[in-house]
Symmetry: C2
Subunit: 303 residues, 2 copies
């Protein structure tokens, strides 16, 4: 197993100014693994209820995602209901039904205990630490989190952040976790908490990385219509980690290309609801959009 | 004269979370011309009152700025009072005393009527057109505006926008003028109004350009402390136009480097109040920061 993700598999009901879906496939581990599958072999540790439609499992299996770590628990699948206004940068949560996810205790089957790379998606930081105790030291561990844990379990979160190689959060989470309004200072503060690499996702403003003290910026791909931003951050992480797993090294040029591949994958996800755009995605489109990113930001040096 | 700017010279009182100044030198033509003077010869058409401190004129003359188009009118100089919260992206205007600026009728002395490049800073669009009637067709004309004119004189503004080569506005102005929330669509809509080049300033998120349909993005320089964003947009325009004037051509690679030089100059302005940082600025710092921008965004192509 090259890459393992521990996170959520969910059914999302989402409304945007451009349409809506009901109980569509969602969840951090879903978006992450589907995006990463274009680059590397990937396994999922998560939980769903007995009501989870098998068609969704078939979809992931169709991408060769290893689902041996997916627990099917008594009860209903995690459901999220949210909506976006014309400012698509922030979702308004209307309902969160944790259901079986409330009792999720990640248990890694033996064959998933030696991943080369590990992504700890947004779950309770104590569970993130418990997962770290179950794996043999992977070559790179990255972690995401959210405001709920920053508020409620700050100390546990800081402890696990101190144990990982890379932190992948959005700009609001970065500011909140660092307790610092200036995003550049916030990035450096998070860097000082331990992770060698800090990646900050900024929605329509792209992403930035601090790696061993050096900054890298990339814009978001210019899209004339963003349909639904749900899953963009997890898709970004899947492209980022998937590319790193494929390359098997973490030097600055590789990390920079990984950030761009993450941005590429996220730019597809937001073009439609749920995983619809990713389901139609061709390998050749990924390369073409990567090249477009380079065209977007390149300029010649001083004469 | 390589570059001419028509705009305001003002006395600004500004409060930010990091300090305050009272009746400091400000105004669009001031920031613009001071920044541009690092690249080319620049002249100013503006008006001040009889109370305007001569020390400020000496400062501009010290940069060889041509002030033969600066009218000293009976009355008091334009004054602006504003403040910023921790979100430094938007100023709150506390008071605007137009004073002599209310009756400003730009009159170009003969020696300023043949500029190679012309920048119409944010003034009444009817005055912007009147200036266009006074110059022999320059090689490139760029224009800035603000919400007040977009609301109040939309038709006159659209007419003058249709006559210029480049539009340089911030993101809110772009959305408002294009009547379009999606910034990419807004940029293309503004492009369709006539200007071959549309530059959109995004504060801490950098800048984007659409030139003949092609997009270019640059981040803002990562600063750990932004002291006062007043004048950043006009400084950006000064660096942008100053570099273009020096190079004397407007092809895509030159325009891209000009955007970066604009960003470089703006990144210095925000490091202190008024023109304080620009006053201390050395030529070598400009080149070094330009190189840093390249380092910030560069990544290698697909293997």
């Amino acid at each position: 197993m090259d890459l393992l993700v521990v996170g959520s598999v969910a059914l999302d009901s989402v409304k945007t100014p451009f349409g809506q879906v009901t109980e569509a496939l969602g969840g951090s581990a879903t978006y992450f693994s589907y995006a990463a599958s274009f680059f590397t072999s990937v396994g999922v540790v998560a939980t769903v209820g007995e009501d989870f439609p098998s068609v969704h499992l078939d979809l992931l299996r169709g991408r060769s995602v290893d689902l041996s770590g997916l627990q099917v628990a008594k009860g209903e699948t995690f459901r999220w209901v949210g909506e976006y206004g014309y400012d698509l940068n922030e979702a308004r949560t209307l309902a969160t039904h944790l259901n079986v996810f409330a009792d999720f205790k990640p248990q890694l089957p033996d064959q998933l205990k030696t991943p080369s790379l590990l992504f700890l998606a947004n779950i309770d930081p104590e569970l993130q630490r418990a997962v770290l105790r179950q794996v043999e030291r992977p070559r790179l561990v990255a972690l995401d989190t959210m405001n709920f844990w920053i508020d409620g379990k700050r100390q546990a979160l800081l402890e696990v952040v101190g144990e990982v190689d890379a932190l992948v959060v959005n700009d609001r989470e970065a500011r909140q976790l660092a307790q610092e309004a200036n995003l550049i200072k916030a990035a450096l503060t998070l860097h000082s908490y331990g992770p060698r690499t800090v990646v900050i996702k900024r929605g329509e403003y792209g992403a930035l990385m601090v790696n061993s003290g050096r900054f890298f910026f990339t814009p978001a791909y210019p899209l004339e219509s963003v349909f639904d931003p749900t899953g963009a951050g997890d898709t970004f992480a899947g492209g980022f980690m998937g590319y790193l797993a494929r390359q098997g090294r973490f030097d600055e040029p590789t990390l920079r290309r990984a950030i761009v591949y993450g941005s590429v994958m996220a730019s597809f996800t937001v073009e439609d609801f749920s995983l619809e755009r990713l389901k139609r995605l061709k390998e050749s489109e990924i390369g073409a959009r990567f090249d477009s990113f380079q065209e977007l930001v390149n300029f010649e040096g001083r004469a």
